[in-house]
Amino acid sequence: MLSREEVWTVLQTVMDPEVPVISVVELGIVREVQVHDGGVRITITPTYSGCPAMHEIEADIRTALAAHQVPLLGIDLVLSPAWTTDWIGPEAREKLRAYGIAPPGRAEPQGLITLTRARQPVACPFCGSSDTHLQSEFGSTACKAIHVCHSCRQPFDEFKAF
């Protein structure tokens, strides 16, 4: 039977299916690991409520644990505390940038209604320029926004601060 730390290490190898350079641990999806006599219980939380990758993530966790002969007692889903990109650490942010996705800034607590955005331009992950504009707050996945860089003229994804 693996120790709690060893189980965390196994989970570190489970990559997010949509952003395969950071793990579900680095993303903050895995909240808790409990090691019992008969096996382990894992607690996960969804990023966005409608994220279609959650089932995939659950299946990937099962596969990774099975590959290490870790008996799984169950995977519990919790909603509270609500997931935030602030849980993504500096190393994972650097991995995102290297992969071509601008990492999230700090998730500012916002008022209920913020029609007008006073957002700083997001730095281009390719050339570093801040001469960029937001093309759309909605991108290829729920967690990303689309920007365009005026300096290197490339469109790029931003992992939205959330």
């Binding site: 409520s49 909603l79 209604i113 729920a142």
Partner: protein, 264 residues
């Protein structure tokens, strides 16, 4: 001659499980609106908006999944979120009428979205501190997402209202048509009263007043006229729906009903 609008019948029938009923109302609102938004997938006026509406649809269906799963637990009759979504008929749906209306044009879709988002954000804000732990968790999480839905739909209302003559006319027409369906969102009944003892107490008058303030502010910025309150249409909360819901459910439920128990 003016034809009077249908007024919701007095609701005196007590419901067996008010919390279940309450969760169905809010789960169904999001499931039905989420499905309506998904109908735009592949039909959006521009690519970015096509993606945006599909994103919103996913979030709403995600919220519906959480709420209906909780409803199934509360009901304790072995129905999960899929059973509740796919194996209830229109009369058993509890969504407000505003979300089941067909999408209409882009202005109609976005104005409806804005009116609903404003309501949803304020509702979640009120419920995020309620004493029911699971509902409070759903409210807190959904609130984060609905806030950016509201920003998106609100910006579009301003853009369309304060846009061209054509977009202004279409947005105003949408506001005028939809207004009579907004009363139902703030009309408490026995179900709302029954769950106060569970620590779920939303002050509907306060909710309505905050909604009025927010909506009029954005409509004014959009150079649109705020309609005066008049006879409101209701009935959805007790299963009296427009003809549109049945047609929508037929499309939504056909696969699950044709292959019961299938998984993919």
């Amino acid at each position: 001659m003016t034809v009077p609008f249908q007024v919701a019948a007095p609701r005196t029938t007590p419901v067996a499980n008010p919390l279940f009923e309450y969760l169905l109302r809010h789960g169904d609102d999001r499931l039905v609106l989420g499905h309506r938004l998904s109908e735009w997938c592949g039909h959006g006026p521009i690519l970015e908006e096509d993606i945006a509406l599909s994103n919103l649809a996913l979030d709403l269906i995600g919220h519906a999944t959480s709420i209906l799963a909780l409803a199934g637990t509360v009901e304790a009759k072995g129905r999960n979120e899929d059973a509740l979504a796919y194996f209830r008929d229109a009369v058993d749906y509890r969504n407000a009428l505003i979300v089941e209306l067909p999408n209409g044009d882009f202005a109609f879709t976005l104005v409806r979205q804005f009116l609903f988002d404003a309501y949803s954000v304020l509702l979640w804000d009120a419920l995020s501190g309620c004493a029911h732990e699971s509902l409070a968790a759903i409210a807190t999480k959904s609130l984060k997402e609905d806030k950016y839905h509201l920003r998106h739909s609100g910006e579009w209302v301003v853009r369309l209202g304060d846009g061209t003559e054509e977009s202004h006319a279409r947005a105003q027409s949408a506001v005028d048509t939809l207004w009579r369906y907004t009363g139902e969102l703030f009309d408490p009944d026995g179900v709302d009263e029954s769950i106060v003892t569970l620590g779920i107490a939303v002050d509907h008058a306060a909710l309505k007043s905050r909604w009025d303030g927010l909506v009029s502010d954005v409509l004014q910025r959009a150079t649109l006229t705020v309609p005066v309150d008049r006879a409101m249409r209701g009935g959805g909360r007790t299963g009296k729906h427009t003809e549109h819901l049945g047609h929508m459910l037929a499309t939504m439920q056909i696969v699950a009903r044709s292959h019961p128990g299938a998984s993919w």
